[in-house]
Symmetry: D2
Subunit: 143 residues, 4 copies
């Protein structure tokens, strides 16, 4: 699978801002930091509203990061197709996240005409072992 | 499987408020409305912060409702075990939700000593066909 | 969702025989027993080759029954589209199956132009509680 | 996660033969070929009974390879705990497999006291892009 990204992190961030304004409504939380052939990275700077009592990041915040990272990984390779929608997401919560930024690392598994699939590792600052692991499928609109 | 709920909707709502204060932080969004043998219902009153441009409820809001509904379905049958944590969640997004309240309807599939599993239909006001369908697994702490 | 089956169990069994000859190669194992609006039932008559030591049905046999049941549930409503292929299958193994026939009960969750989704309960002779629970997605070829 | 395998491929193959005699009943189909820190590889030599008309490997054969590979990846690191059972398996079928041997490559995502999680790439002879991708959860018996 010869894959070349067709969007830069800057273009993807502008696209997220325009298409998903609710994500970074009050301040910047989800930021595309890097893209490469078949992969992308998204950082989540969780704020108090994303934390559970005790200081760990909430499950919904991790699911949102997984979905955004997989979606960004696909859009980075097909261009700004806003109508690309999640049809399935499966996530394993592996261990309680430590306080600090989370990093989604997406891997493109399939890029078809109608369906695309990506997996996502959710890592902490130290990428030793993931806090969560997800895979997600997206329906690509006819072009 | 002879199942009898051991918590009322009122007790579950109080437990959610205490244990997940971030869920209904600014106003009441997620409300347990009914429990029965092997099932529970949770209503989501989405506000502007949960909507995508165009007025449909966002994916993360639907995933959160699925997780809460499955969790509530289990706690309703085992009692207030706050350390019961999601280990896996799988969700199919079936069709774009229409504006209006969403309703999670949970079904208990397994209630073991260490693991519990529930499925969830995410319906609109009219329960004709679900907008989304999820299943989730929870690890129950040793008692 | 007004759904009416367009194939009978007999037609579906003939279609399985022709399209999946390896399933019932040596003797009849998987049999469509009933279809209705939005659902279908498939019986699995496990033989020695499907059993684990101890007499319980093997995991692969249960996964095969889940896949066939979901696929049959969809084909029963769209007609004999042999190129309808599984794109995703998620299964929870809930409890060890007891010896005896297994029954897959499929429920149609979505019937779109390009994608269809069904869930499946895997029950024993007594339908009290499922042994396994699955959901699966299928890509429907353009018509 | 400092991980060291505690079983060799030879020990794992003997264990499979003894514990899952139905897998390689008539001839050797599933063979553990390598293990390393946090991973293992299993080869599937599909025979005529595993092929669909047209010569591609059947879905159930691929699901079985995914389950065995994830299970072997875990046992390689905890030792021969035969009662370690699959509780969940999620699989994406990405593209039609070409004729030839299939290779499952397992990656350990979590090794807890009670639960272990692994992901699996299902590759062909050339590992360029996977045919299928799975993740699976196992319940480990108390020791």
């Amino acid at each position: 699978m010869l894959l070349s990204p067709v969007m830069t992190p800057e273009e993807l961030n502008r696209f997220l801002d325009r298409d998903f304004p609710e994500l970074n409504a009050t301040r910047r939380v989800y930021v595309v930091t890097a893209v490469g052939p078949g992969w992308s990275s998204v950082r989540c700077e969780a704020g108090p509203e994303h934390l559970r009592p005790g200081g760990t990041v909430s499950g919904p915040t991790i699911m949102t990061l997984a979905d955004i990272t997989a979606w960004v990984t696909i859009l980075a390779h097909i261009g700004p197709a806003a109508l690309t929608v999640t049809t399935h997401l499966s996530i394993d919560f592996l261990r309680k996240p430590e306080p600090g930024h989370l990093h989604g690392k997406g891997r493109l598994l399939k890029l078809g005409k109608r369906l695309a699939v990506a997996s996502v590792d959710i890592d902490g600052e130290d990428e030793d072992q993931p806090f969560a692991f997800a895979s997600a499928t997206y329906s690509i609109p006819p072009r």
